[in-house]
Amino acid sequence: MTTRPQVTIPIEPERYELRAPACYVFESNRREFFKFLGAGVFIACAASRGNARQESGGGRRNSEDSLPKDIDAWLHIGEDGSVTAFTGKVEVGQNIRTSLTQAVAEELKVPVNSVRLVMGDTQLVPFDMGTFGSRTTPVMNLQLRRVSAAARDVLVDLAAKQWNADRARLTASDGQVVDPQTKRALPYGQIVKGQQITQMLPAEDPLIPASEWKVAGQPLPKVNGRDFVTGKHRYPSDQTLPGMLYGKVVRPRVFNATLVSADTQAAEQLPGVTVVRDGNFVGVAAPTSSLAEQAESLIHVQWKAEPQPSSTELFEYLKKNQLPREDRDDGPVTKKGDVQKALAAAARHVQQTYNINYIAHAPLEPRAALAEWNGDQLTVWTGTQRPFGVRGELATTFHLPEEKVRVLMPDTGSGYGGKHTGDAAIEAARLARASKKPVKVIWTREEEFTWAYFRPAGVIEVTSAVDANGKITAWEFHNYNSGAAGIPTYYDIPNQLIEFHPVKSPLRQGSYRGLAATANHFAREVHMDELAHAASIDPLDFRVKNLKEERLRDVFVKGGEKFGWARPKPKNHGYGVGGGYEKLGYVATFVEVAVDRGSGDVKVQRVLTAFDCGAIVNPDGLRNQLIGANIMGLGGALFEAVEFENGRILNNHFASYRVPRFRDLPPMEALLLDRKDQPSAGAGEAPIVGLAPAISNAVFDALGIRLRGMPLGPLLVSEGYQLS
């Protein structure tokens, strides 16, 4: 047994979508667990306001009313020995239903298949801010381990009492308490029979150290995998209710449009169709989706809108449209030493600008919601990374107390940071209220590409200096719009000025896997390469030379060894590296590119990512996330960019917005550094940040052409090459 690792992660200063107002303006009481699950043992926490706000704060719009008023129950052991754990975290493909199940099974000493997780149901689970920021593993995994350890203690206590035996010699294993002396064993179900016990979580309780894990640390397959390969699992868009209607929203042709007039007469004549016009919202509900589409097409709406910027002028626009000081909510400026003086004194300095385009999440399941009213009680099934946040949006929009709103989140067809808001939930609920029937809204692909939000574009300016010994002496870094996540440099530099400049974004923008860390790492790691060349030092040696952090040095050094960085490369091949520290994870990605001088094809030949996220909870799930992040990252690195013109998205289909497909993928390798002595960290985001700069740096190594923007592909086209 060991002490509990302490983890603190700052919540990123950027949460654009939480600052956005609800998308429309319109005119169950606390859970009874014993009734719900029967007798047994509960492990609960007093709802600590401090903690709840930290981890589960619900964002700026949510008031104190949204915090639990009594206790939060986290775990229940039933008379049949079944274990139910409750969490506000949700499953969007990162496989946390599996890794959290492992945490419970490990500490409670029960078989994995006896554990059931209730996730993201606002009526049943403790309040939670949402599933983002790679917080599930460092925070929720730890929390469920703690409650499971507490439950195990209660069970041992009860068994000791029942047997009148010395508690100290009893052990728990495989769902029962065992007395090694008498060879007696009591299954948990029998221990809790007839009991109704609520045990509060003790402040300190030792946890099983990672080095002794039996279930955690193992490559457990997806716990409900069979439901997915058989089509049995019901995603939000698959949910149905008797008498349900299909909803459709009439969208303006451009962003920021105001409704002038709407002719809804023809649509209203259709059988069973309800038409709603409320403020800027126009929508229909109909017994079939095709009838809903027909009704929508019969509605003629006049909108008015002002001229809006276009993607061809994006980067100039971002530089010119910073928010006034008083509207800004950015993190503190980092100032250290005297940058100006250091730049003036330096042997060599480099000044460059890096441009990052908007990209779309394009989750394969578009936003979807099914809403049902019972009197003034609203229930919504929807795919969101913030069930409690969406509950808050619904309560605000419909002028309800939050207790009247229940949001349920069935395991969803991905998110990547793109499903924080409750747009589809609000639309479905508004249509359901008007039609007095349950209504399901599923966004079309075009709607998803247009009316969701985007990863922020950005302009990043970097000025730096290096001394004659290859030590970086000055670092000035300005990020316009893309965000503050990952903006601090982890290199050891005495003089720094680092600043994020928020901008009035021309498009609706918000979270995306890794937030701005991808943009900031791109600029930093490409710039590091430029600086290494200015100092005539090998780019990998240059990084290691300027790093003090041991774990970060490790991923660079061990990744480089595995990749074969020092090995001579074939003619017309180039090597590149990029990496850093993000969301408690240490990452270094290595890339080899090959150039065909005849055809001009530049191909990413192979990718290796070395990663350290502390003690690994599930190596198989981790590999899936890490390779997945690199594949997703390949799109943003090579070719993804949102094109827009005067309030319209020009490439809002998969035919025009290219995402990585089977033919695009080079061999990819993961090098996992399992640090059993370190707390477990998340892995959904950090592994995405190293790829783009590594490719850019490899292209420079092969061709001597420096690509200073994302995506890279179009920049190389202008040099006469095709990058793939």
Binding site: G231, T288, T412, R663
Partner: protein, 158 residues
């Protein structure tokens, strides 16, 4: 509206639908077969893939009237009782899914490929699966699963 007969997963169904309605909408809305997914409605992502006469078809692009009386297999009809199809089993064994929203379409496409190419090369798999999108980036495992299924199916034939 027209009344049509559909033969799905070995069962005959009578449906009343607009003849131009997509097979996907009829499967999902009228027959509650929600394993086939909407991903784009334009035949660009493959999430809606089903088998018609044993061949992969994008059900979002297939008018329901065009497949009346033809045998249709959806993901729900692939397993025989409790026994998974070898492709389903291989996807499970390889952990070839993350959010798994693309999985049913991936599996149906793979079944179609293996029906006419018993032992496809990696390049043949990649080329055939090019029309199926996995946004989570599980493609390498999907390729491995298809190879594994091919081996398993050949083994069971010999």
């Amino acid at each position: 509206m027209a009344t049509m007969k559909l033969l799905i997963n070995g069962q005959s169904h009578r449906v009343d639908a607009d003849p131009d309605a997509s097979l996907l909408s009829v499967l999902r809305e009228q027959l509650d077969l929600t394993g086939s997914k909407y991903g784009c409605g334009e035949g660009q992502c493959g999430a809606c893939t089903v088998l018609v006469d044993g061949k992969a078809r994008r059900s979002c692009q297939t008018p329901v009237s065009a497949v009346s009386d033809k045998p249709i297999t959806t993901i729900e009809g692939l397993a025989k009782g409790d026994n998974l199809h070898p492709v389903q089993q291989a996807f499970l064994d390889e952990g070839a899914m993350q959010c798994a929203y693309c999985t049913s379409g991936m599996i149906m496409s793979a079944v179609s490929l293996l029906s006419f190419k018993a032992n496809p090369s990696e390049k043949e798999i990649v080329d055939y699966m090019q029309g199926n999108i996995c946004r989570c980036g599980t493609q390498p495992r999907i390729i491995a699963a298809i190879r594994k299924a091919a081996t398993a199916m050949q083994g069971s034939r010999s």
